[in-house]
Symmetry: C2
Subunit: 384 residues, 2 copies
């Protein structure tokens, strides 16, 4: 059944029927009272997910556009920026800052490792003149979750503002924007928010506004002051993707109906089951348990197997789609997302297909052993 696919990549993620249905509603004009009410409804719910009282904006662009909006509004040429890098998306965030002329200093913790707070503390103590600190909540390329609370507490003691890429985390992993002192939090529609790609959501603190107001970098589409001016009328500066807004409202309703705590617990459970299954198949995990992402798990292909060849068998024989590795991990790892509209059976699907694909590629694999471990994790939870 070539048409039957199980999309288990870290975005875009599967879209629930209720969200798809919402997006089939007739398009409406964006300068209308109907749109204002839609935006108002969404804004209230996003603030609950972000745990913030800060201003929240929804931009019609993908996550990278959201990251650029954060940079373009805060970085002038020559500004000192500290980038905390744990993988591909940390590097991208730093590169966007460089594109705006920033003087970027990196701490690269290595792919598969998380941010070491002592290193951040030392660096911030060394130089008091950082204007902006960049961090990644959930590093999609490695399946690592960073300690944003810890980073936020350190940055808050300085004059710098903290920009957090929460693209593949927010909605699947708890974030306390205000309590953790995140000045700009950026996320996007196509990950834990269960929507097609096309929207970025971001929040802006008072501390960030004071930087933004003095910023001189060229910006028009990404102008946050322009967004704020329109927002007073529950509007957007430029034409928003109204269809995705309708879908976003439905997705947020689903998340709040399930209960955010339950959403986060579900992601964590699926991550634990995926990791237990991989270990039962004698596969090595890229990230340690301590900093393992609840939304995506990176697994090394076994010796002698090219990860992308494995992914090909998975797709062609079973319709199961994992992501590959990025950068120097390309061909070495595969990544299984358990993000958004996913449940226990998605892990069973992932592991059941993985076992068969490994066997087909000649790996010694005990069929059912990984599935059994995932089942045990689910049953233990059910009995708890």
């Amino acid at each position: 059944m070539k048409d039957k696919q199980y999309l288990l990549i870290p975005g875009p993620t599967p879209v629930p029927p209720a969200v798809t249905a919402a997006m089939t509603r007739p398009v409406i004009g964006h300068r209308s009272e109907d749109f204002a009410r839609l935006y108002e409804s969404i804004e209230e719910k996003i603030k609950m997910v972000f745990q913030t009282k800060n201003d929240v904006f929804i931009l019609t662009n993908s996550g990278t556009g959201g990251l650029e909006a954060a940079i373009a509004n805060t970085v002038n040429p020559g500004d000192r920026v500290l980038a905390l890098i744990t993988g591909n998306f940390g590097e991208r965030f730093a590169n966007i800052a460089r594109a705006y002329g920033a003087n970027v200093e990196e701490i690269n913790f290595g792919w598969g490792k998380d941010v070491d707070l002592r290193a951040v503390e030392e660096k911030l103590a060394e130089r008091p003149d950082y204007k902006v600190v960049l961090a990644t909540q959930n590093e999609t390329s490695t399946g690592v979750l960073n300690d944003i609370a810890g980073i936020g507490a350190l940055v808050a003691k300085t004059n710098a503002i903290l920009l957090v890429d929460g693209v593949s985390g927010v909605g699947g992993v708890e974030i306390k924007t205000d309590e953790w002192r995140v000045d700009i939090l950026i996320t996007a529609s196509q990950k834990a928010f269960m929507l097609p790609p096309g929207l970025a959501m971001l929040s802006v603190s008072e501390k960030a506004w004071s930087v933004i107001e003095q910023n001189k970098s060229p910006r028009f589409y990404f102008s946050l002051p322009a967004a704020r001016n329109s927002f007073v009328k529950w509007n957007t500066a430029y034409t928003p993707n109204v269809t995705l807004f309708m879908g976003l409202e439905a997705a947020l309703e689903m998340m709040l109906e399930e209960g955010l705590e339950n959403v986060y617990a579900r992601h964590l459970l699926l991550a634990r089951a995926t990791r237990a299954a991989a270990r039962a198949l004698n596969l090595s995990l890229l990230a340690e348990d301590r900093c393992a992402s609840p939304t995506v798990t990176a697994v090394y292909a076994p010796a002698g197997v090219e990860a992308d060849a494995l992914r090909k068998v998975l797709k062609s024989e079973y319709g199961v789609i994992f992501a590959g590795g990025q950068g120097h991990l390309k061909g070495k790892i595969f990544r299984i997302a358990h993000m958004g509209f996913v449940g226990k059976m998605d892990v069973i699907i992932a592991v059941g297909a993985l076992e068969m694909a490994l066997a087909q590629l000649g790996c010694p694999v005990e069929l059912g052993a990984g599935v059994c471990k995932a089942q045990e994790v689910f049953l233990k939870k059910a009995q708890a």
Copy 2:
């Protein structure tokens, strides 16, 4: 994720995205050239699935309406009808004949058994005056496949016409309407044809027409002569469900693109894997291998477990939906469909969830053991 369900019942079955997309096309008028071309395209393809040169009709009603059309056009009060019964749907077919005043003689082979050709041969030899013989290709209530070729060869030697309920078989199991001498074959949209419910398809042989033309039973909506009169202009007698017609064309295109032989082989493989998995879990199967349905498998719940309680856990905990038992098997068996838009992972889902649900109900079950057996069946096939 309460919205995420795996529908594994013997109809309605999951609808493929390409079929759903086709059904979102704007509605068209049914007395139009566009509709005539659509009907023409469908008719040609249905004849390929039915393996027939007979007339084929598409009625806007569910399968039971199709069965009634077959009866209403062939049975007069007092007519002698022989009903070959292997389960609930065989009984229903006989009851429809009774509703039209038929003098029905039943051979009931028992639920879980298939038609014994020797018994049919004897019965037909005993009384040469049967006007109609009723048979079920695939008995949905028990997961039994009957030998229509064998039955057809016996009935063809008599003056009786053979009416075959192919509702849960056709499209998933090969049928050779003409070669097997099936006079009226009836099937429906919501099973192996991968559509929502609402259409019945049937074919009518020359031998059947000679009976239909002399039939006196009241019929209007179900009138096959009326259908034939409209069909000369590629039309229907009354308003057809044009949206389902659009979907049917897309579904038939999918089936022919995959290749009918491949479609049938896929169903058979999924049935074999399901049965192997059930046996590995020490569960008893209702039907013997010899007459096992390729589209649905009936399994006894283990001792001490109510089948419907098991189904409740499967649905609420895993979103996996099996059918229950019918008639005297209610609460004793559950039925797993592998019918229509289904592939290997559907069996993994069914078995993976079944193992967990059994464990939750306190059954001694070796987690992963059933999944492993299903995987072995798939891998053996892949290597063959």
